[in-house]
């Protein structure tokens, strides 16, 4: 059975470090037989969540734009790969704006109880976070992890793995990093094999 993999790039900077790392991951996944789609948030039209809580009553977002279409795609994927550089110790405002829009799904799960993911479903749906940071600090990704965890939890994906590389300023870019691109490629291969096994087993 075909593995559907969706990669989302949250960087405003086209073909920079993070998107290059994502591309390497997607190449690995494609080579292993997955059907791969890549979406660049910067090219979409959507607004951040307004915090109006209308979805708490209806389970639908009152803003009808590209964000809702992308959430439908996410829900139809076996593997969700979210990529963002670290800006000011967190994910980009573009990606945060998109993730905040998941509120209508959260409302379906926890308020309206119309959406439920079985443990079996969650196990078969893998989430990956890809990120780069200019700073070399060990804790530079810590502000991003809880937000990405929230996204995977709400959309029914198991937080399977990270592909992260810090200290980009010192390396002068991802292409000079000794291991990151290869690691991304191999992790792209690996997750597809794992999902294939789950789907066929």
């Amino acid at each position: 059975m075909q593995v559907n993999l969706l990669g989302i790039s949250g960087s405003p900077h086209r073909h920079g470090n993070t998107e290059t790392l994502l591309d390497s991951f997607l190449d690995g996944a494609r080579e292993t037989g997955a059907s791969v789609e890549k979406v660049v948030l910067k090219t979409l039209q959507y607004s951040p969540c307004r915090g109006c809580n209308a979805c708490h009553k209806t389970g639908e977002c009152i803003v009808n734009d590209d964000a809702v279409v992308l959430y439908e795609k996410i829900m139809a994927s076996d593997c969700l790969v979210i990529a963002s550089p670290i800006y000011t110790m967190g994910i980009t405002a573009e990606l945060k704006g998109f993730i905040d829009r998941q509120q209508y799904l959260w409302a379906r799960k926890f308020i309206l109880k119309t959406l439920y993911f079985s443990n079996e479903h969650i196990k078969r749906h893998k989430g990956i976070f890809i990120s780069t940071a200019g700073l070399g600090w060990e804790n530079v990704f810590d502000g991003a992890f809880p937000v990405i965890t929230a996204l995977f939890n709400t959309t029914g994906f198991e937080y399977f793995d990270n592909v992260i590389a810090n200290d980009m300023d010192r390396y002068s870019g991802i292409r000079n990093h000794p291991a990151a691109l290869k690691e991304a490629f191999e992790k792209g291969q690996n997750v597809v094999r794992v999902i294939q096994k789950l789907k066929n087993g």
């Binding site: 951040p48 307004r50 550089p85 980009t92 573009e94 993730i99 905040d100 804790n139 810590d142």
Partner: protein
Amino acid sequence: MPIKILAFAGSPRRFGNSETLLDWVLGSMIVDPDVIVEKVALDEADINPCRGCNACEKLNKCIQRDGMDIYHDKIIAADIILLSSPIYCMGIAAQPKALIDRAQVFRSRKYVLKLPVVPLERKGKRLGVFLATAGQNWSYVFNAAVPSVKCFFHVIDIKDTDISYLMINGVDEKGAIDVHPTARTDAEKLGKSLIAEIKKRLAV
């Protein structure tokens, strides 16, 4: 000289919990005749996200022309800067994250171009405040927001030790904060203590 206070209300929901918390702090400050308060609702401030182009590392200014043209100067001029945000999906809302990321121009000025952000004589005479509310009751619900906030204040020359925090969890629906047992008292106490502290520092 008046004490200049600049307050960013970060929530897209006007007059909700985090903005109410901000208003309580501001309310206890504005009663002082030496104080001038400007409050900005970020949802209406026309501040685009950072494009990550790094042009500010060379130009010492942002290539985007938007609301930040105004707030850049106001951020430098203010004695006390407050930022309020709700927690959405375990982080600050996207609107205040855009403001924080646009402070990259100050970071470039400070660390790449090695230029002052505020004049030397104003260093140590600026205070920062982060106010947040969260629907969830978890004690760790603010953890992911704080590092970004610290960076924001750091690059605009407000030291870690000069940042005050008031973060209230367990308030979700509009108005929930009104019945919180301590939020209002703590907010008003904070506002008064900030004015006392800044007066002390500006007098030196």
